[in-house]
């Protein structure tokens, strides 16, 4: 076996230029394969790491569905945000309750105009002032309300950016009003982005106190907590007890749901296309190797005849050409794999991503090159084994 590999290496090494050119198809195919899989892994790792960061720092406390409707009503105290803030590891906390008033219109003017386009039915959300920090909301214009507004039960709201756009209320400087049902509210701020709860961009957000007074909100429906990295698990285990000491089992602490599956599907489709291209290139590469090996068999009939006369069997001659072909494929695989890895690293560098690859990808694809070479060598090797020694030895060479 060692003799066989050494002989094959000598055969391949004797024609370096031709070997490299022959391997080119496999180089391109393997490089495309590694780059596609590597970039896919890198991109999905980005999504996952973003998700992980959220998962590691987000906790939402809700009434447990098992607790029954009656008990769920008054489970979370009004000072839940304050209580939760005292837990070690909590960075920000706020209550958030979506009001159950589905058909309440919100409009920017008092005039009831059936044709008006500025009547919308957005979600109505009651929140403690701490929520804006807890969901990492950014206020574009104006300001968020504070504990003073809450205590005074001021009729102020903060609008999500998309809702403000629909109501044509971009300029908060003029203290515009919106009517929630028939109750007027002053718009004091507009949110431009909400890192952890993008749905708020479409919502009307008002202080808990007002919601309690005007819309009969009995108690907050959830508490959103932002924690230090890694503290989420501990905070999640402690929060129900801190919020409802008399019946902690009636509350559950949740982590964020799985990231958007649609995005992953789109990525998979693109990936499939590139993988198909890579495989086609590999097949072309294999045909290239087979072609060159076949020419090599014809050129080396003298050598084949000599090996047979020296005591080489048909099988050993076939094996020699198979191994040579596999070595060419392996070379292509190694070069292609390196090229693919460099591509992934290069793209990641430019896009400021962290390159992520499965550990088996580089060695595995190099080996795949060898397998491609081996398969490509089958027919030429068979042809070589059919060479009749005497006829071969009578030729010059």
């Amino acid at each position: 076996m060692r003799d066989l590999v050494e002989e094959a290496l000598a055969g391949v090494g004797a024609r370096v230029n031709r070997t490299v050119l022959t391997a080119l198809g496999v180089v391109v195919g393997i490089a495309a394969l590694v780059a596609t899989l590597g970039l896919a892994a890198t991109a999905s790792a980005r999504i996952v790491s973003h998700f992980d960061e959220l998962a590691a720092t987000s906790v939402t406390v809700l009434p447990s569905p098992d607790a029954g409707p009656q008990r769920a009503e008054n489970l979370i105290p009004w000072d839940a945000a304050e209580r939760a803030s005292r837990l070690t590891g909590v960075v920000a906390a706020g209550t958030m309750s979506t009001l159950d008033l589905p058909e309440t219109p919100v409009r920017a003017t008092t005039v009831v105009d059936p044709l008006a386009s500025d009547v919308v039915r957005p979600p109505l959300v009651a929140a403690s002032p701490g929520l804006f920090d807890a969901v990492q909301a950014r206020v574009a214009v104006g300001r968020a309300y504070d504990r003073g507004h809450e205590a005074r039960r001021d009729r102020v709201v903060v609008l999500g950016g998309r809702l403000a756009e629909r109501l044509h209320l971009a300029d908060v400087g003029q203290s515009p009003a919106v009517f929630v049902g028939d109750v007027p509210f002053s718009v004091i701020g507009v949110l431009v982005s909400v890192e952890r709860s993008p749905a708020l961009l479409d919502a009307v957000i008002m202080p808990d106190g007002v919601a309690h007074a005007r819309f009969r909100l009995a108690a907050p429906l959830s508490v959103v907590l932002r924690t230090r990295v890694g503290a989420a698990a501990v905070v999640a285990s402690q929060a129900p007890l801190a919020l409802a000491p008399q019946q902690p089992d009636a509350l559950i602490a949740q982590r964020p749901a799985e990231p958007n599956a649609t995005r992953a599907k789109v990525a998979a489709d693109t990936q499939a296309l590139f993988l198909a291209l890579a495989l086609v290139t590999l097949v072309i590469g294999a045909v290239g190797i087979a072609n060159t090996m076949l020419v090599s068999v014809l050129q080396r009939t003298g050598e084949i005849g000599l090996r047979r006369s020296l005591g080489g069997t048909r099988a050993s001659v076939a094996a020699l050409f198979m191994v040579e072909s596999a070595l060419v494929g392996l070379l292509g695989g190694v070069l292609g794999s390196s090229g693919g890895v460099l591509t992934v690293v290069g793209v990641s560098y430019v896009r400021e991503w962290t390159p992520v690859m499965q550990p088996w990808l580089a060695p595995g694809s190099a080996l795949l090159g060898a397998v491609v070479g081996l398969l490509a060598g089958i027919y030429p090797a068979w042809r070589a084994s059919r060479v009749e020694p005497i006829a071969a030895l009578r030729t010059d060479g």
Binding site: R2, D3, E7, A10, G13, A14, R15, G302, E303, G305, L306, R307, R308, S309, L310, G311, G312, T313, R314, S316, P389, I390, L393, R394, T395, D396, G397
Partner: protein, 227 residues
């Protein structure tokens, strides 16, 4: 003393619509240490004879005794093993591998001979020394003269210490001066007791051998030394 090589009624017919008899029933005995020249025109059947003697072809009928054992009916694999261990070949076209040194070209024969790896280099060097190329073990074939190349080929054949050295037109690609170089080498090997069978179309070259047979239309005839 039994003959090293003995053909008893060996015949070779190539199957075709009209079968071609390349070799008529032939009897031939070669003793160990003989230097035999086989002459004949092209197409006379001398190549067929050499192929059968070299176990590269099988007789259609008859017995081929190598050292007393009939090898005519052996399988492909068994004949291949015998080639690797007992028969050394030298060809008109040398058949050296162009990208390998003289030493490596000889070592290849030892590889098929299943010589242990650690002994190969020494035995190859010894064989090259025996043909007068001890100082050129590292030379590449394209830096060697024609005569030197053929001597490397002879060294390759000798390295396995064959019972039988078969040479097919060994001087066919050489000018007369370098041909003489190779013939002198053969004469020395013969003197050392090596059995040599040499095919040639050139009567003058054949005359250097100790014994001559002539093949005419598939029939082998002994040629008397004085003839």
């Amino acid at each position: 003393m039994t003959a090293l090589v003995e053909l008893r009624g060996v015949e070779r017919v190539y199957p075709a619509v009209r079968p071609v008899t390349a070799l008529r029933p032939t009897n031939l005995a070669v003793r160990s240490g003989d230097w035999l020249a086989i002459t004949g025109r092209s197409g006379s059947g001398k190549s067929t004879l050499l192929q059968i003697l070299g176990l590269l072809d099988r007789p259609t009928s008859g017995a081929y005794l190598l050292d007393g054992a009939d090898v005519a009916g052996l399988s492909d694999r068994e004949r291949t093993r015998l080639r690797a261990s007992r028969i050394g070949f030298v060809f008109q076209a040398f058949h050296l591998m162009p990208h390998r040194s003289a030493l490596d070209n000889v070592t290849v024969a030892l590889m098929y001979n299943r010589c242990p790896r650690r002994l190969r280099a020494a035995r190859a060097a010894e064989a090259l020394d025996r043909v007068g190329l001890g100082g050129r073990v590292g030379a590449m074939p394209n830096t060697l003269s024609g005569g030197e190349r053929q001597r490397v080929a002879v060294a390759r054949a000798l390295s396995i210490r064959p019972d039988l050295l078969l040479a097919d037109e060994p001087t066919g690609n050489l000018d007369s001066a370098t041909a003489e170089e190779v013939l002198t080498l053969f004469a020395r090997l013969h003197a050392e007791g090596q059995t040599v069978l040499m095919v040639t179309h050139d009567p003058q070259i054949a005359a250097r051998a100790a014994r001559r047979v002539q093949v005419v239309d598939g029939t082998v005839r002994e040629v008397r030394p004085d003839a």
